[in-house]
Symmetry: D2
Subunit: 256 residues, 4 copies
Amino acid sequence: MSDDTKIVTGLGKAERHRVLVRNIDLTKDILGKLSFGQMTFLMLVGRVPTEDEGRMTDALLNVLVEHGMVGNIIAARFTVSTAPEAIQGAVATALLGAGSVHLGSSEYCAKMLQDALPLDGVDTDLTAAAQGVVEDHANRKQRLAGIGHATHPDGDPRADRLYEIAAETGVRGRYCVLLEEIGKVAESRHKRRLPINVTGAIAAIASDMGLQWQMAKAFALVGRTLGAMAHIGEELRNPMNRRISKLIRSSLSYEP
Amino acid sequence: MSDDTKIVTGLGKAERHRVLVRNIDLTKDILGKLSFGQMTFLMLVGRVPTEDEGRMTDALLNVLVEHGMVGNIIAARFTVSTAPEAIQGAVATALLGAGSVHLGSSEYCAKMLQDALPLDGVDTDLTAAAQGVVEDHANRKQRLAGIGHATHPDGDPRADRLYEIAAETGVRGRYCVLLEEIGKVAESRHKRRLPINVTGAIAAIASDMGLQWQMAKAFALVGRTLGAMAHIGEELRNPMNRRISKLIRSSLSYEP
Amino acid sequence: MSDDTKIVTGLGKAERHRVLVRNIDLTKDILGKLSFGQMTFLMLVGRVPTEDEGRMTDALLNVLVEHGMVGNIIAARFTVSTAPEAIQGAVATALLGAGSVHLGSSEYCAKMLQDALPLDGVDTDLTAAAQGVVEDHANRKQRLAGIGHATHPDGDPRADRLYEIAAETGVRGRYCVLLEEIGKVAESRHKRRLPINVTGAIAAIASDMGLQWQMAKAFALVGRTLGAMAHIGEELRNPMNRRISKLIRSSLSYEP
Amino acid sequence: MSDDTKIVTGLGKAERHRVLVRNIDLTKDILGKLSFGQMTFLMLVGRVPTEDEGRMTDALLNVLVEHGMVGNIIAARFTVSTAPEAIQGAVATALLGAGSVHLGSSEYCAKMLQDALPLDGVDTDLTAAAQGVVEDHANRKQRLAGIGHATHPDGDPRADRLYEIAAETGVRGRYCVLLEEIGKVAESRHKRRLPINVTGAIAAIASDMGLQWQMAKAFALVGRTLGAMAHIGEELRNPMNRRISKLIRSSLSYEP
């Protein structure tokens, strides 16, 4: 068996006169015909989506593109200011901040949901599953991912809107329901509002699309790549890095 | 004047109950309404595009998503195999390879075009401008960016298709023409086929959209972020990194 | 109280005519006088080390510089081959692979040690502490970090050598002992050889130096930056990336 | 000939019971015996240096470790604040700023010196070579790399100290002289003080060590990896990122 040395991909192939993507001809059947949202679905799920699924994907991609002058955007602006010949490094800088505290949390929520309810699993009692998740997190003194929000205690309008679109497009499924149930169980246990937040909504919808939990982060990373490029462009046209440095120096003290 | 300490952005703002993107309400007027292609145009150009412009942008984003098992994708697979808890680092790895040799060349072509024909410039004789560009590069013994292709000597089908879509959508303008003229002048000078390549087509079309030259790279970086995520997902489901390592070790010799 | 807006660092300060590092004058008292090993200790621990401590630090820095053509080095070579104008991106590529599976594990071992025995803690029964660690990991079905090695089942000669130098230089302390005790307890529980591995030795020694657990990774990252630069230099002189790509393509199949 | 498929490295090899570095046994002959400065020389130059050469290398590594709260350090602090589980990403962030404007300029100076005087070239009239370099740059309206400094117009004390150590250790050679000559020619041409700056000194000394020009950046990248780790450790102990964000927000205006 030569199996052990075989290297296999199912994603794509570049031939001399054509590029195949998931077995579809890029030039003939993708360019000009599929939106980038549909392309995203095709790459991550493995089939051409319906228009509705493409519209859902567009919303997941759009939701985290821009959030003002957050830390990772300031970081990207600093990088491009000293390495303007390597814009890809400044974009990489912005992405490197997408960890457990910011942008990256959809991954943890999707894992929580898929641990409770495997992608290929049979139907289950979602309320019981939600109770199990909440209890298990309480026992391990671990925060529930995807619900609650420091700056939007009454609900994150972005999450609500994604849930609406999921219902409109027919993507809403048992993961969306499970996360709602987890929210309800947690609210009654903790006696406070714990609305679904934006990374939770992304995680639930991505899971309902059939994505493995690690891929839930794709939407934030693709969207933030665009956001970073726009900020890098603005920094190149109208630099603010020196002013920021000066501002920081003016408040800085050195205490060895 | 406090002007010197003022830090200004025009891209977006996160308020307590809404996020503004280029002064448009994200939740109300973007999510579910604009495609990611339109969002990309909005972020980079500064206005909501027409549907046709959005379709052109989708094509620019889609064209470089996937090209098989190229070097930067193998690199990203290696990164995720040893740091699976930090997928953003693996995506950053893929982007860091987008330099002068690969993926990044649209930036150089866009600079060449905008140096010859400023974005805010008046009309000019495009054939004369093309002759100037070709002569200037020949004098400096510098390669012309955006034309010619090692593996597609007869023309890159992706470039041709992007030009078609540019014509269909009305985005085609003087930069698309200028690059065609540069190709013709260079062909007659060098006596060989020098078709427009895919990064050239991206550069010309991005310039016709009004993007500053550094932003031409945005399409490749956003698209490749998606491509990298799909490969990272495949690597996590079905790892090939050990086989690749073994293969390399079997051909490797150490000659101190 | 203005305390909330004060930004404080104790590491260094660049003035017009001098640079202070941990309150020591860089030009007068560091350059030409301290080794880089001593500088590393100064930066991370906060005082100028003895020569012995500097020698220990040199060994920690040297041990992971080079390990042949491992995945993250191949990745860095791919990055520089397409972005040779941005060598910093290729070095960053190599570092991004330093995660939980490779290079980064000293961080987890140091955390395990310092959770059992706080840096500022009082003396404790190390054997009892070791038993607690091993039982706790068994209960949580978690691997013990820093002991055992797939390719060095009889012991990692690099780990043994670091332990020797720790004894010679007087750096060896209770964390080195604790990790040995953990190894013994685990061996008798699991009935197989579980020698201390190289990242375990780094973790124990770094902890005995007084470093917070997250800093244990510093030695690998600094060392690997050097290793990556040497490989990048070799790749620029004598490129192997095309051969590697060709090799992979020859074993690759596309199975959509 | 199978030459085309052979992949060759001369740097190192990991065997089951030993690791070879430039054909030297890591455990037996490097750990505890060579300083990290000597290791750096060994990796980059290919032979074990004398103690003097090792001391010179230590100084090159130490000189750029710490320069206060510069942009790339703030960027690294932002990255670790949102991705604390992936410290390697924060270090990578700091390195990605080492481009043409900051930290990376030793590469350009070394190229300028080695273009004028190849590493393997025969002896030459250094004053004539210097005049050629200065004229050539003036003709191409290009800045001379490695001389002049915005904040140290009277001379950079770090550069002077590195030159002193180069003389003391016998490393000083024709590249150090050439850069001095370039400075003199440029001063008399431009009628102002143009002292050698720190990245110029690194470039000249690295070239006198025999390093190819791209490797001149190694010292800054290795040193800054250490500096970044120290700042990351401080950020984890005593976070300043929220204060910095707040400070920036307080001066920020949104002007769509």
